[in-house]
């Protein structure tokens, strides 16, 4: 399953590209540049398809890492790993 193909859908962005305050729905997780371990860890932390997500904070130094709210908890992650998560932005 190719992530790049689905990314062409309008409105779909990678979580790592989101700004503070933006929110949406996780549509897909994975991608060839990410190890199975990273993807599974993300899933175990609650990053699963269908979950709502919101970027709450970003680091004062270069805006990376970010803090997101997902499945009832706050999770900090670097933008690089966040790019494994594809989000459909809220209108």
């Amino acid at each position: 399953m190719s992530l790049t193909a689905t990314l062409k859908h309008v409105g779909h962005v990678r979580l790592g590209k989101l700004e503070k305050g933006e929110k949406g729905l996780i549509t897909q997780i994975g991608g060839i540049e990410f190890s199975v371990e990273t993807v599974q860890r993300l899933m175990e932390m609650g990053f699963l398809e269908g979950a709502t997500i919101e970027v709450l904070h970003q680091s004062p130094f270069g805006g990376d890492p970010i803090v997101v709210r997902v499945r009832g908890s706050l999770v900090a992650l670097r933008r690089n790993e966040a790019n494994a998560i594809e989000v459909l932005l809220d209108e």
Binding site: G30, S35, V36, E37, T38, V39, Q40, R41, L42, M43, E44, M45, G46, L48, E49, L56, H57, S59, P60, F61, G62, D64, P65, V67, R69, R71, G72, S73, L74, V75, A76, L77, R78, N80, E81
Partner: protein
């Protein structure tokens, strides 16, 4: 005999498993009454905690606290050990007979995923729904019967910090006991992504049935985060907190440290008077009592630092601080959590290295441990002060900035730069691999509990005294022997130390240090200086025979400036920045990494670095004409 058998029959193993931050430690403390024994699993750094829970009928349960993990996937060492124990594959820790799965009631959406994973193991299981008070205050209404029915396991609501629900929890564990059948070894396979998906889909199904009213977002946490994680306010707060912690370990610890030092020397004097001069007196006073003092003197700093760490950790601030620091630490390939150990190492590397426990990934943790002793600890300060005062002219460089201060700053700065540089190098060589990810939960803010902090401090102190302390004490006694024997011959000209084993070794290896500009007196003084860096001053005073005189230090400085060139002094300063002149650091590294391999490596790399650095500086200085005495 029969009594023994009934005793064994009564003990019953139950293990606690759950996500980090679910209050598992508090629950463990509550059911065991804080009588835990802490140790390590052999060969690894993962902590092993066991205790006993007293049941109403007078029998006890042996309780094991498993490391907090998000899954059994074995990416981290914690997970691997938890999984091996739960699958009955751990060599020394048998599979527990029952499990208490602990979940944070305010975070069921994630916590229950791990419970379902545990359920597949076939070990009898009870669910402790912890922190139900917080969940209730956030509006959660839960149908426990449905939850228990859908999960297929008993569910007990608990509030660990108020000891609520504990009796019921233990009663449920005992009920498991009655219909206990030996758990079958199952053929466990790493779940694939679809299995994780379906596991969480099952969580959603169960929750949709059992949740009557959903939990509101943690309002207070999110409000506080508006300040704590604010780009400007949050950074200011972080700087304030760090400055406060640093100030505390640097200066508050000095007061109890002074008490300990004067107490130990008073005790030594008393024992000395009572025994009279002699070899036995020397062994007891200079060897043993001084050795115990060398161990105890670290306790104030360890206690103060860990009090802060436990408060920061329990309150939920630590994860936020790690988040704020992550960008900076990430540049040298370290985790955001590495900053507390590194900062603490400015006071002393011992508590610094002990505090690397908060770093999850093994590679991150080892890198941090290896570079921590390069941070300028307070024991280097007396050596720096002595040499700078004796050799660096007290002239103004620019306005109020004087050369002596500038050199002092340079030494501190060099330590930091080289520590960070070495972190980059270790990351690219020894601990190569993908950049560690941050991925860290920010727990909700909670008021830290005095009792849990007290227990945590007890654990740390006992571990330090028992494990590192014994090594430090025995090495101190060995060093005492080396500097005391054999005695100087009658009518000797040199100081007694130069006839001792330390003196003999010093003379023997002196040619090795000649390229650094060190004379044999320096080399001899370096040997007892291994016990603690500042001891070097006393040893120099002994070798230069200014010991015990009035204005000893000033006199020593004067003697040194008559005997050494500036190049030699600079070379020794650089040696002190880089060398691992501290046996206690090696002992605590051995304790924290559970092998002699890492302290050996630490000693070798730091000594090589120091040799290279001192050699370069000495020859540069000689070229600049500073080689004359």
């Amino acid at each position: 005999m029969s009594k023994l058998i009934t005793q064994i029959k009564k003990t019953y193993d139950v293990a606690l498993a759950g996500n980090p931050n679910c209050g598992k430690t508090a629950l463990f403390n509550a059911i065991t009454g804080g009588n835990a024994k802490v140790g390590n699993y052999p060969g690894v750094t993962v902590e092993r905690k066991v205790g006993r829970a007293l049941l109403p009928d007078g029998s006890t349960l042996k309780v094991l606290d498993l490391p907090g993990t998000y899954s059994l996937n074995s990416r981290t060492l914690d997970e691997e050990i938890t999984r091996n124990i739960l699958l009955g594959k751990h060599a020394l820790e048998p599979m527990p007979k029952a499990l208490i799965a602990v979940v944070d009631a305010t975070n069921l959406e994630r916590g229950l995923g791990f419970v379902l994973e545990l359920r597949e193991l076939g070990i009898p299981l009870v669910l402790a729904l912890n922190m139900v008070d917080l969940a209730k205050s956030r509006g959660q209404v839960l149908n426990l019967e449905i939850l228990s029915r859908e999960l297929g396991i008993p569910v007990v609501p608990t509030v660990a910090i108020q000891k609520e629900g504990l009796e019921k929890l233990l009663a449920e564990v005992c009920l498991l006991k009655s219909d206990l059948k030996p758990a079958v070894l199952i053929d466990w396979k790493k779940p694939d992504q679809n299995q994780i998906r379906s596991r969480f889909a099952e969580v959603d199904r169960i929750l949709s049935l059992s949740i009557v009213q959903a939990t509101q977002p943690a309002l207070w946490t999110e409000r506080l985060d508006q300040i704590v994680l604010h780009p400007v306010l949050g950074t200011c707060l972080l700087v304030l907190v760090l400055a406060f912690v640093f100030q505390a370990i640097f200066s508050w610890a000095e007061i109890p440290k002074g008490f300990i030092e004067s107490g130990v020397s008073w005790l030594g004097d008393q024992v000395g008077l009572w025994l009279g001069k002699g070899p036995l007196e020397s062994l007891i006073v200079d060897g043993m009592i001084a050795g115990v003092g060398a161990v105890l003197v670290f306790l104030p700093q360890i206690l103060i630092l860990f009090a802060f760490i436990l408060v920061l950790e329990d309150s939920g601030y630590m994860a936020r601080a790690a988040f704020l620091m992550d960008k900076l630490m990430g540049k040298v390939g370290l985790h955001g959590r590495a900053f507390i150990p590194l900062l603490s190492s400015f006071a002393c590397a011992i508590p610094g290295i002990m505090s690397t426990r908060t770093i999850e990934q093994r590679k991150d943790r080892l890198t941090t441990i290896l570079v921590a002793p390069l941070m300028t600890c307070s024991a280097r300060l007396p050596v720096y002060s002595l040499l700078i005062a004796a050799f660096i002219p007290n002239m103004s460089v620019w306005g109020p900035i004087r050369l002596q201060g500038l050199v002092m700053f340079g030494l501190y700065f060099a330590g930091v730069v080289i520590a960070l540089l070495m972190a980059v190098i270790f990351r690219m060589s020894l601990f190569r691999g993908p950049k560690p990810n941050l991925l860290m939960e920010l727990p909700t803010y909670k008021l830290p509990r005095l009792k849990n902090i007290g227990l945590g401090l007890m654990e740390r102190s006992v571990l330090f005294l028992k494990k590192a302390g014994t090594v430090i004490l025995s090495v101190s006694i060995v060093l005492w022997f080396l500097v005391s024997y054999p005695k100087a011959p009658v009518g000797a000209h040199e100081a007694a130390i130069s006839y001792s084993y330390a003196g003999i070794v010093g003379h023997a290896i002196e040619p090795l240090f000649r390229p650094l500009g060190f004379n044999w007196k320096i080399v001899v003084a370096l040997i007892p200086g291994l016990a603690a860096r500042e001891v070097m001053i006393g040893s120099l005073a002994t070798v230069y025979a200014v010991e015990g005189r009035e204005n000893g230090i000033a006199l020593l400085g004067q003697r040194l400036s008559e005997d050494w060139s500036i190049a030699t002094a600079l070379s020794l300063l650089v040696w002190y920045v880089l060398a691992c002149q501290c046996f206690s650091t090696l002992a605590v590294t051995r304790r924290e990494t559970n092998s002699w391999r890492w302290p050996a490596f630490m000693f070798l790399y730091m000594t090589s670095l120091a040799y290279l650095g001192s050699f370069t500086i000495y020859h540069l200085a000689v070229k600049m004409g500073l080689g004359k005495i």
